[in-house]
Amino acid sequence: MRKMEKALAVALAMAMSLSVVGCTQTPDPSGNPTNTPKPTENGNGGNNGTEPATKEVNTGEGEGKVLNIYVWNTEFKERVEGYYPGYTKDAADENKGKIGDVEVRWNITPNDNNGYQNHLDEALLTQDKAAADDKIDIFLVEADYALKYTDTDYTMDVEALGIKKSDLSNQYTYTQDIMTDSNGKLKGLSWQGCPGVLIYNRDAAKKVLGSDDPAEVQKAVKDWDTFLDTAAKMKDAGYRMNASTNDSFRVFSDNAKSAWVVDGKLNIDQSIKDWTELAKKMADEKYADTDDLWSAAWSAGFYATGKESAADADGNVIKGQDTFCYFGPAWLIDFCMAAGDDASIAHAGGWGATEGPAGFSWGGTWVCGCSSTDNKTLVKDIMLTMTTDPDVLMKIVKEKNDFVNDQPTMEKMAADTSYKSDILGGQNALGLFAAGAKKIDRSTMSGYDQGCNESYQKAFKNYFDGNATYDEALEAFKKDVHTKYPDVKVD
């Protein structure tokens, strides 16, 4: 029986990780329903990375022969496979590749239930005992928990890798501020910027607001009071303003003036309280549901009412539900809004982007060199190529619609009238993103963000649903934080 359960558990875990992979599949930028990679000018077909090396890679004299990279999904892997010169995929094992004579091993653990961090932490804590070929060379971190790693000795100072500050001058400064530790050392680099925008349903805008022009829509969502007035109109017309009350959470939490934990004590910023008030209002007036982000009810807004998603591996189908807007950065638009599905609004180019009531940023992925690496030359080159090389980054924008971490590239693309986002109905929203990226200030980040953000939304769902009072929800939140972080005082 137990064995059976375990076998089933493994099968389910595999199915789940597959669905994660499925989610990160990039939509075809051309909006072409066929999934064949589109060859570009130089014949480099983005995803197939099997072309001969375009430049000789210096993998370092006498350095390790195995490069271990710890990640939680295939996003960075696809980027390296597609754009790192000289990378060849292993035909037999999709989690292996080669750069010169160095073997690249991708160690992928999905994020679910904190799985990635648990796995990474165990590996980091036992690095001393690991064999040379098993030592971690590169690992990736996300914004919500980046600070857990920057202030430790496990992440390498990029200058110690031989990367000069002058190499990084074109990057958005906030991406470096986040990864700078308390001694002023820069510990990781990112290839993307994550300024967020309000992503609206063009049909709904035309029907209810009379126009789907970004500037006109902006007038209806210019501040939170106007946003709520528009929500009332949307409700009368049968639209949810947001899919979930949690949609606006990041807009407020990113604008917080203080961190979740100050001097070892839990702290709730005024901005978070403002969000709670707004969300309660939206839930009470039924302007939005209270489902978790990423749930099926939340994703239902990616499809118009009457349309259904393509069945997933388990045969589940999501029924569409008209929703006016989501808040999110470039990655949400391109990776999460089901653009690959014929029935989705994204596939039909039915979304538009505008600034929204407030600027914000959400997420972001950083590449960190691990202090135990025996491949310093290669780690340095991967970090430099993937996060600073303008040619590589330009190609990523054109082919993957990502918002990359290079100011001149983004400004050039923002002004380029030939660039169009198919999901956004041909709109070039890069100017919007670029303006947002400059304003991002993440100085109130803390190593506790992930746990606190999750616990807060979980506890306050009860308040929004009307099951608990504000104080009861707050108490539950405090208890949850104390369990997650025994070192944080909650009273």
Binding site: E5, D121, T152, S295, A297, N316, D465, N467, A476, P486
Partner: protein, 329 residues
């Protein structure tokens, strides 16, 4: 004679040695995977020992502080109550249905066709992993799930074709919009209980059936000759003889119930929601324990495990006593 008596203990010893050898694997596995972890759990429950980020805090000896903190927190008893409510709500239908089914299956006078087939079918829900089962119910009862769409469609259809039913719907507060079942305490607990019932009644039926088939049929025949009714036979003969098996079923189910974890964990998305009057209403004891995994809090987790151990032991003893008492009369 003297030779024989001399030899016997020796040969018994030699024979016994094989018994001991066969016992070795069990004891090795037991000591490594059960006994040592058990001892270290109790040991660490007296320490402050957790992880803050990547930094390990402790182990520092703190005496009974972990035990005191759990009592002070005050949620333990509430989560125990949640667990018991969900277990009892699932166990009562489970034992009743199982007894009924076992009685039917074991009664040759009923001439049930395809007995083996039905015995297989009722066992099947147990073959599905609990978390997959919970996932299925989560999807079924989600706001966008099939139950909600059937509910809404039916309501709309009824009010269209039978307008006179509308006052009834209004009276019952039924509106044609999706219900968030998992935001309602009774639905959430009810679903957990129902899933546990569905998963385990087949298993219980098989156990009780084995017991019932073991009863000497001459007893039934004698009772019938004496004019006993079927009900009398069931309560006066079958049930008393079944008591040892019933004790086994109750105790194993109770221990399983106290360890209830995967079903409510998956169904409520690791939250134990809904929160009613300041208490999480579907958080079970083991879910509470596993919350400490986030910080790898061996100290507090250890203390909680010791409490669970004591609770389980006490409950098992009570059940055992209640069920064995009558035998001594």
């Amino acid at each position: 004679m003297s030779e024989k008596t001399k030899r016997r203990p020796h040969s018994i010893m030699r024979f016994n040695i094989w018994g001991y050898i066969f016992l070795v694997p069990f004891f090795v596995v037991f000591i490594i995977f059960q006994f040592i972890p058990l001892c270290s759990t109790i040991y660490y429950s007296f320490f402050e020992y957790y992880r803050a980020g990547l930094k390990e805090v402790g182990p520092n000896f703190v005496g009974l502080q972990n035990y005191i903190e759990i009592i002070k927190n005050g949620d333990l008893l509430y989560y125990f109550r949640n667990t018991m409510i969900m277990w009892v709500a699932g166990f009562i239908p489970q034992i009743l249905v199982s007894l009924l089914l076992a009685a039917w299956f074991s009664d040759p006078s009923l001439h049930i066709k395809g007995k083996k087939f039905f015995q297989c079918v009722i066992y099947m829900p147990n073959l599905i992993m609990a978390s997959a089962f919970a996932m299925l119910f989560f999807t079924l009862f989600a706001k966008t799930g099939p139950i909600n769409s059937i509910y809404v469609d039916t309501l709309v259809w009824c009010s269209k074709h039978f307008p006179f039913l509308q006052p009834v719907f209004d009276f019952l507060h039924l509106q044609p919009e999706a219900v968030d079942f998992l935001a309602n305490v009774h639905w959430t607990r009810g679903l957990v209980a129902f899933m546990n019932f569905l998963m385990w009644f087949g298993n219980t039926t098989i156990l009780l059936l084995a017991g019932m088939l073991g009863i000497d049929t001459s007893l039934f025949e004698a009772a019938e000759v004496d004019g006993a009714t079927a009900t009398q036979i069931f309560f006066r003969i079958s049930l008393p003889i079944l008591r040892p098996i019933l004790i086994y079923v109750v105790i194993t189910s109770l221990i399983g119930g106290i360890q209830m974890y995967d079903v409510p964990q998956i169904l409520t998305g690791n939250s134990g929601n809904p929160l009613v009057h300041g208490h999480l209403t579907s958080m079970t004891l083991i879910m509470f324990l596993n919350q400490n995994l986030y910080s790898k809090n061996y100290g507090l987790g250890g203390a909680l495990s010791v409490y669970l151990f004591v609770i389980t032991a006490i409950l098992s003893l009570i059940v055992f006593r209640l069920n064995t008492k009558k035998d001594n009369d």
